[in-house]
Amino acid sequence: MLKAKVNLTDHDFVEGLKTGDDVVLKALYKKYYNLVLKLVVSNNGSSEAAQDVYQETIIILYEKCKDPEFKLSCQLQTYVYSVARNLWLKQLKKHGSTGELKDYHQDVFEEAGSDIKTHLKKEESIDKVYKSLEELGEPCASLIKDFYIKKMNMEEISEKFGYTNADNAKNQKYKCLQRLKRLYFDNFTIVD
C-alpha cells in the first residue's frame, strides 16, 4: 500500500515509524536529506558532517515516534530541520563558532532542544553500558547480550557457552550481571 503511495503525509511518516516500517523510513530519509545537507554545508560543514547530523536527527525522530505519547506539534519538515539545526549549532559552538547560522527554513520548532537533550542523555547511558560491557570482558559480555538482547533462553546459552546445564548457565549469568551492575552504577543495590 504505502509503496504505491507517492506522497506520504506527515501523519503517514509518523505512523510508519511507530510501526517500524522500513519503506517509510527510507522515504523519510530521502525526503529531507538535501535540506539538512544544504544547512550543514552552507554553515562550514562537510557532507560527511551533514550525514552524521541527519542520521542523528532521524534517530531522534524515530525514537520519538516510538513513544506512545508523542504527537507532532509542528510540520514534520520543521521538526527535522529544527533538530538538525540544533545539533549542528551544538557542533559549531563546540568549535568556538559564534552561533550564527545561515538558515534555509523559516520556522524553527523551539522544543527541539529538549528532545535532543533526552536523546543525548540516552546516548550517554548507552555509551556507559558499552564501556561497562567492555570492561566486563568475555564470556560475560556475550552472555548478557545473548540473554537480554537476543532473548536466548538458558538452555541455548548453556549449549553455546559449554556449561554443563541450564542452572549452571543461570548461575554464571547472575554473576556476570552483578559485576555489570557494579560497573555501571556507582553503587548498586544488593538484594540477594
Binding site: 522500513d22 548507552i126 553500558v129 555489570l180
Partner: protein
C-alpha cells in the same frame, strides 16, 4: 529463585497471578527491593535501547549509501579557515616552481608588485540572508597600478593553458576581448606574444596562438581533454594566476550546471579569484574537464567552469577553416593518471600560463 530472576520474569510477564501479586506487594512496601528493581529495569532497557539504536544506525547508513552514496562529497561551501590553509598550500606549490623564484622575489621587492596579492586578500564571508539575489562576477581585474618588471603593466590578467603541442592555448574570451596585444608567460616560458585564432563569445572561450613557432617545439602536453561529462562529487583542481606565481586550488564538482542552471557549465567548490579565469579545471587523473569562467560573489568557493565537452563541440564546429586541423585538441594520452598531486602539478605547470592583456584605455 534469585531476586534477579524474579525481576526478569516480571519484566517478561512470566509471573503467575499469585507470584505477580506478591511481587507487586513487595515492590510497594520494600524500598530496597524497589530500588534494586528500578536499577535492574534501567539496565535492561538501556541494553535493549543500545541494540535498537545500533540496528537503526546501520539501517540509515545502508539507506544513505544506496540513495546518496554516489553524490558529491562537499568539503564545505564556505569555510574561511579552509581557504587560509589552501593559500598556505599554494605557497608550497609556488616554491616548487623554483626556476624563477629568485627573479620574482626581486621583482616583487623592487616594484611593489604586492598590489595584486593584496587585491586578492581573503574576503570575509557574507552571511547576509537578505542577499538572496546572488550576483555573478566575471573574473578579471584592472591592474593598472602594477609595474611588471621592465614591461609596461598589463591592463588585464588571467590564466590560459596549452590546447595542443602546436603552440595553441585556450583562455577566456572576456579576458582577451578587445585586446591590443596578448602575452603569455610562466616559469618555463618567457613572455611570448600571441594572437587570437578562434573565439566563441557565447561560450566565453578563445584560442590563442604563440607567434614564435619555435617556442612550442618541445611541448609535450601531459593532459587530455575529457570528452565525457564528469560526475558530481568528483575531486577537481585548478592551476592559475591570481597572483604572480601559479596558484593551486582544489575542491569538488558541486553541480552539473552553472549559474542560472546554465548547462554549458559546471559549478565547482574551488576557491577562485580574479586572475583564475581561463585556467584549466582538472579531475584527479589530470584530464581537463573545464575552464574557469567566474565565481559567485556572494559565496566563497562557488566557482563556475565551462565544460570541456562544450569546448570540444565548439571547436569541432569550426568549418572550412585552414586552422581547424591545427586547432584540434591534444590527443595524447594523459600521463598523469597515477601520479601524486604534487607530481601532476609539476608536469602541468609548464602548460598553464599567466595571460597579460593590453587594451587601449577609453
Amino acid at each position: 529463585m534469585r531476586t534477579v530472576d524474579l525481576f526478569d520474569n516480571y519484566l517478561e510477564g512470566k509471573l503467575g497471578a499469585q507470584e505477580l501479586a506478591a511481587f507487586e506487594l513487595r515492590l510497594s512496601s520494600d524500598p530496597v527491593f524497589q530500588k534494586a528493581f528500578e536499577e535492574h529495569k534501567t539496565l535492561v532497557s538501556i541494553l535493549n535501547a543500545s541494540n535498537e539504536r545500533q540496528i537503526l544506525k546501520s539501517k540509515l547508513k545502508h539507506i544513505h549509501s544506496v540513495e546518496f552514496g554516489k553524490e558529491a562529497k562537499i568539503i564545505s561551501i564556505n569555510k574561511p579557515e579552509k581557504l587560509t590553509k589552501r593559500l598556505g598550500k599554494t605557497f608550497m606549490v609556488a616554491a616548487s616552481a623554483a626556476v624563477i623564484a629568485v627573479f620574482s622575489t626581486v621583482a616583487v621587492l623592487s616594484t611593489g608588485g604586492q598590489v595584486k596579492q593584496q587585491d586578492n586578500a581573503i574576503k570575509q564571508l557574507s552571511l547576509n540572508n537578505d542577499k538572496v539575489q546572488a550576483q555573478l562576477d566575471v573574473i578579471y581585474e584592472n591592474l593598472g597600478a602594477k609595474e611588471d618588471r621592465k614591461f609596461a603593466s598589463a591592463n588585464f590578467e588571467g590564466s590560459a593553458f596549452a590546447l595542443n603541442n602546436n603552440g595553441y592555448v585556450l583562455t577566456s574570451w572576456h579576458l582577451v576581448n578587445g585586446a591590443d596585444s596578448i602575452f603569455i608567460q610562466n616559469t618555463s616560458t618567457e613572455r611570448a606574444l600571441t594572437k587570437i585564432i578562434f573565439n566563441d563569445p557565447a561560450l566565453d572561450i578563445a584560442v590563442l596562438k604563440v607567434e614564435d613557432e619555435g617556442l612550442s617545439k618541445a611541448w609535450q602536453i601531459p593532459f587530455t581533454f575529457s570528452n565525457k561529462s564528469t560526475d558530481v562529487g568528483e575531486e577537481v583542481f585548478t592551476l592559475g594566476y591570481p597572483r604572480e606565481d601559479v596558484v593551486y586550488g582544489e575542491g569538488s564538482l558541486s553541480s552539473l550546471s552553472g549559474y542560472g542552471n546554465n548547462p554549458a557549465m559546471y559549478q565547482v567548490s574551488i576557491p577562485v579569484n580574479e586572475g583564475n579565469s581561463g585556467g584549466p579545471v582538472m579531475d584527479s587523473q589530470g584530464n581537463v574537464i573545464g575552464v574557469i569562467y567566474g565565481k559567485l560573489t556572494t559565496a566563497e568557493g562557488t566557482g563556475y567552469a565551462i565544460k570541456s565537452t562544450e569546448i570540444i563541440k565548439s571547436i569541432n564546429a569550426v568549418e572550412g577553416d585552414a586552422a581547424k586541423s591545427e586547432l584540434l585538441l591534444s590527443k595524447t594520452k594523459s600521463s598523469l593518471k597515477k601520479l601524486k598531486r604534487s607530481e601532476q602539478i609539476k608536469k602541468i605547470d609548464p602548460y598553464v600560463f599567466n595571460v597579460l592583456v593590453y587594451k587601449e584605455r577609453k
